[in-house]
Subunit: 477 residues, 2 copies
């Protein structure tokens, strides 16, 4: 097995290497930025879908599917929103050799087509809250360099769009979405910071935007989800109007939130190492791999033990495979470490003698001997322990990624260091200062901590005028 | 509640009515043939996906996702296949205001992009069998009249594509797919006939095509799935070449099979009645609805009983809702009958007295009194019984839909009758006779029974020459 690019030496080269070699994505499609999500990647996404669908269900969201094609006039209706997407929108103009009467946009996001429907569905306050979720493919012909799962021209996502009869309820819905996404990231063992984006970085058409950013091991950060409070902006444009209890009329208060396959990139990046993936046990397509350590004359006995273990583990509902192929056990060890299988069970002649098996943890590389009667029990415990260990690592990465800068020099040093992470600074609120940070440091203001007023600890780090907010700066993907 | 179009009087009007009123699909999107799959429709599809995913898993299929965009040159490579789709293919030509260097087709099916990848993945016999499934949206700008779920320009489907090292294995794979689909239709309580399509109606590029047709209550039939044995046709074009065990080289033997949201249309059509949907219990978004029958002075006691029943049923993992809204119980009865909820539980003052509840079955309209301690047990039994009842109805519809015609007059009478169904005839095998049937009777040869040689019982029904096959004729949607 050839050696990986080292994660610490060149993070992006390591990432591209592992995504390919652990068979998450194949980019050789001849369609730039549109790749094959291979089964190892697909299965992770499928499990994330289950986690999210459960949360959508208990919070009263309904799943629906809306058209991929969007009439151009819908996009144009919401001018500001449309402008934000213009260069990225793909257009369908022909069917066969025939030119279509009207051209259609492929959804870069579904506000317009969904709200066109909502205006037909909502008549009275009693029709709300309305919470609709859509799982679908999204097309954005991003002009920047594409990178598998980090920046794709086609990707899978969930987008939820809600309507409420009061602005207070919309604010509560923003918080509910933060619980839905936050608890999902927790289950994926991901660290994240929730901030309210600055006004100039708000989603086109929204009142304010909340974003979820994860620190990556190379010191940059990655946005892995957003929630927007749309207030009545879209509702007025799309005429989502309703009768209130007192008989008067108002426009709906809306929110929306989305999260994409980019989360897979975050999981890979945060937890993977130089041997390959390290997958959170709940998401791992395979949780346990059984590898026989063959010894001449003992082949049959070992094979028998492996099969017994397989059957017992399968019965317990654990995702397990027994690899009885001709490859050497060393080759297999490497292969399943690359794939990030949380637990390896080895059965060799010594294990036979001692009436047990050897466990190897993917995360800590720890090996332990377990007697036959304790196999399933030990797996169940270990899967929990591994999850806890990965959550601990996420927390540690989060802590290591946070720092403060009181002066511009301090900020500059941190931003030019190997791991800038999130740096807390004081800001006057002027866009010109934000622009200067962008230009001089290639870094961006991510926003203010949501729901918590932070104490200002100095003047604006750029202009030295009075600071109005404490904000987080990072170099973002 | 307004009266439905009667199913027996005008099937298509009834279908369009019910699809809209039971909130399966909303067509008011301003994109012809691309509709909103509402949550009642979406949830049925989601459960079908689970049924199929379980079968894909145990038979060794892997789920993956391939690009929506297909380079035009891939389509052109397989000329015959491409020609079959030409007028329906949607093309993307622009990103924002910029014209793209190359135009891309939106997948009308994914053979070409998938096989382009397969040619990079398959090197040796040991790489096979390779069984890949994709869940995705499909775009076909059908020029015929669109009808929700029956003929859409965008629809959801599953397409599986397999590679094998021998032709025999490909034949076996065709059979496996027939089990996967057939057993799924069974679970959906659908009747179906499996035939091998005539040569002229074979999928472009395939050796032979197997199709699954369901008889609809109006006497027409609906194709609800297909399986194709592709032999080496595509493999030669896309260069899916492998080394055999003996060192020589060969091209892969392939199969593919697909099934779409059209199956939902079949379920609605076969089982629905003039009150609305009748859903197979396993697929029903809601399995039980609790409706209080309010009686003055007893409101609280009844509400209490309903809540207790709700909790108990929920704990048993059954999909249940308690409708405590202000609407009348009569209104609620109608509403949940329209939605096809298999079991209604009514709790009124008499039930209180007798310490029990009243069950109403959606399928038979039968009502039974059940004591409180037997509620969950009765539901579990009834869900089974209802499934059996629907399967019985499917079987009956199938039997009623089958008949033989020995003479052209007989065939003509049957095809012009109210319920033509499938009519078995003798055919010489000439396309000209098939064309005549099409032209004179607006009916089509569906094919020969797969895997069973049937005894010819006369001469060709058209030309009176010697018959070569027994085939099934129907008017197809």
């Amino acid at each position: 097995m050839s050696v990986f690019t080292k994660k610490k030496e060149d993070f992006m080269a390591w990432y591209l290497d592992i995504v390919r070699r652990a068979q998450i994505v194949d980019t050789r499609t001849e369609v730039k930025g549109m790749n094959v999500l291979l089964s190892n990647g697909y299965d992770i996404w499928d499990r994330m879908k289950k986690i999210l669908d459960d949360k959508f269900y208990i919070t009263g969201h309904k799943n629906m599917y809306f058209p991929l094609f969007i009439p151009e006039k819908f996009l144009e209706l919401e001018g500001e929103h449309f402008e934000g997407f213009v260069p990225e929108v793909a257009y369908v103009t022909h069917a066969g050799k025939k030119k279509l009467d009207k051209k259609f946009a492929l959804r870069p996001t579904s506000e317009t087509i969904m709200y066109h429907m909502y205006s037909q569905w909502i008549r009275a306050y009693s029709d709300m809250p309305m919470k609709v979720n859509q799982w679908c493919n999204i097309i954005r012909i991003d002009t920047k360099d594409t990178k598998p799962l980090l920046r794709d021209r086609e990707f899978q996502w969930t987008e939820a769009h809600t309507c409420h009869s009061t602005p207070e309820e919309a604010v509560e819905q923003v918080k509910e979405s933060m619980w839905i996404y936050g608890s999902t990231y927790d289950e994926c063992c991901l660290p994240y910071l929730i901030t309210k984006r600055p006004k100039y970085d708000t989603f086109p058409g929204a009142l304010y935007s909340i974003a979820y950013d994860t620190p990556l091991p190379d010191g940059k950060t990655l946005q892995i989800g957003t929630t927007h409070n749309l207030d009545q902006g879209f509702a007025k444009v799309f005429n989502i109007r309703f009768q209130k209890e007192d008989g008067s009329h108002d426009y709906a208060y809306q929110t929306c939130y989305g999260l994409s396959t980019r989360v897979i990139a975050a999981i890979i990046s945060v937890h993977g190492d130089d041997r390959g993936l390290i997958l959170p046990p709940y998401l791992a397509p395979l949780q346990v791999i059984i590898v026989p350590v063959i010894f001449k004359g003992k082949e049959e006995a070992i094979d028998q033990e492996c099969k017994e273990a397989l059957e017992e583990i399968q019965k317990a509902g654990i995702r397990v495979k027994y690899d009885d192929s001709d490859k050497t056990s060393g080759f297999k060890f490497n292969e399943y470490e690359l794939l990030g299988v949380p637990i390896r069970i080895e059965i060799g002649p010594k294990d036979l003698e001692k009436k047990g098996v050897t466990f190897a943890r993917r995360d800590t590389k720890e090996r332990i001997f377990v007697t036959k009667d304790k196999i399933v029990e030990t797996i169940t415990e270990l899967l929990e322990e591994i999850t806890e260990e990965l959550k601990k690592r996420a927390k540690k990465l989060m802590e290591e990624s946070m720092s403060d800068a009181a002066t511009y020099d301090e900020l500059e040093n941190k931003m030019n260091s190997k791991k800038p992470g999130f740096v807390r600074i004081n800001w006057c609120g002027d866009v010109s200062c934000a622009d200067e940070i962008k230009e001089r440091l290639k870094a961006e203001i991510r926003g203010t901590l949501y729901g918590k007023e932070e104490v200002i600890f100095g003047s604006c780090i750029i202009c030295d005028e009075e600071a109005k907010e404490v904000v987080y700066i990072s170099k973002a993907y």
